[in-house]
């Protein structure tokens, strides 16, 4: 959903601390080849509808992935995770066409692959739009 991607980018741009710490940048779905660490990618994983007789609630699952190449310790990535949660957990997004309800963290998974630390952070974004 283009409106959600646009809202997340806008939020990221406005969150100075998180943006400053994520020096490699935040990208929609795919980062450019050779992006400098640390960087992040977000992706709309799924979008499901819940109907009432008068409106539609959209349940969007958005996954953030943040990476760090400081391989001897995850301290850099842990600090980035804190800033990510401050920026997005229980935040208010401005989403075109929809009334925003909530954005909350669902789960966090930590990985280390080939010396690269990775956090997978899943958020639920709930929106509603009138059908009347």
């Amino acid at each position: 959903m283009q409106q959600v991607s646009k809202a997340i980018i806008a939020r990221y741009t406005a969150e100075a601390l998180f943006k400053a710490a994520l020096t490699g940048g935040l990208y929609d779905t795919e980062s450019p080849q050779g992006t400098d660490y640390p960087y992040g990618v977000f992706q709309l994983i799924s979008e499901t509808d819940e109907h009432t007789f008068t409106d539609i609630k959209e349940n969007c699952m958005v996954q953030f992935k943040i990476y760090s190449d400081v391989s001897d310790s995850s301290i850099e990535l842990d600090l980035l995770l804190k800033k990510l949660l401050v920026a997005f957990n229980y935040c208010t997004l401005t989403v075109d066409d929809y009334t925003f309800l909530k954005m909350t963290k669902e789960n966090i998974i930590k990985n280390k692959v080939d010396g690269i630390w990775e956090y997978l952070v899943l958020f639920r974004v709930m929106l509603v739009i009138d059908r009347v």
């Binding site: 819940e50 109907h51 009432t52 007789f53 008068t54 409106d55 609630k57 309800l101 909350t104 709930m126 059908r131 009347v132």
Partner: protein, 263 residues
Amino acid sequence: MTRSIGYKGKILKGTTNILGMAEWNYSGETRNTEPSNLFNYQYQIQTATTIEGGEISVSGDFLIGDPGLALIEEAFHLGTELTDLKLYVDADNYFIADPNTVLFDGTSQPSHIIITKSPTAVKQAASGIARTEFTAKVSGRLILQGADTSTLICETIIACDFDGGDSNLTIVGRVGGYQSLITGSNLHVVAQVGKTVNGLVTLALSEVMTVSELLADNKSPVFAITSDVAEGYGTYFYRAGVKRVTMATSDIVYGGIQQVVIE
């Protein structure tokens, strides 16, 4: 025939949409019976008595300040006998309290709905959004309006005693009034008869009335249909009514059975 798509439904109180509702349920009518125990009879005999209206339950999102929910809450507090609560099965067709439920003696009275659980029943969870629900009880029955062309829109039941032998059965009824009946509309008068002990047996009686016949009889035409009835003893129940045949969804017709003559 068409299937009814859920998301097209809605619930109105009069003309006010009750917002955020996601599900309604009507449990339907139930026939009460009175048991009898007889000497030398192995099975308990059930005799049909009154019909009890069903329960309505509605649930959905709790929207603060929704005028529709406020009207339901007000009706609950006042014990209002609602005649304008509409449960839509799709965009056009809805169940509503029968405005002209015909009684055994030929008179009629409107059915109504009473709110039995206020929409102040609200539940909330930190991980979700607030939900509400309310329930209601039907006194009388619900009818389908704006409906499929073959929907039975009014009916009545009369009990008659038979003493055997061939009989002619004549059912006399009256269409009590209608609104915005369009050219080309027809009403279809139908009847069924069945003996209580052996269960219902369909008797195919019908008469189609055209719109010109309706208009020619001062907007309150009488219909009469006659047929032979097979030999029988005991109490029979006659069920007759009026069906919508080719009517616009906005047409509303009232009517019922006034008399059953057995010769």
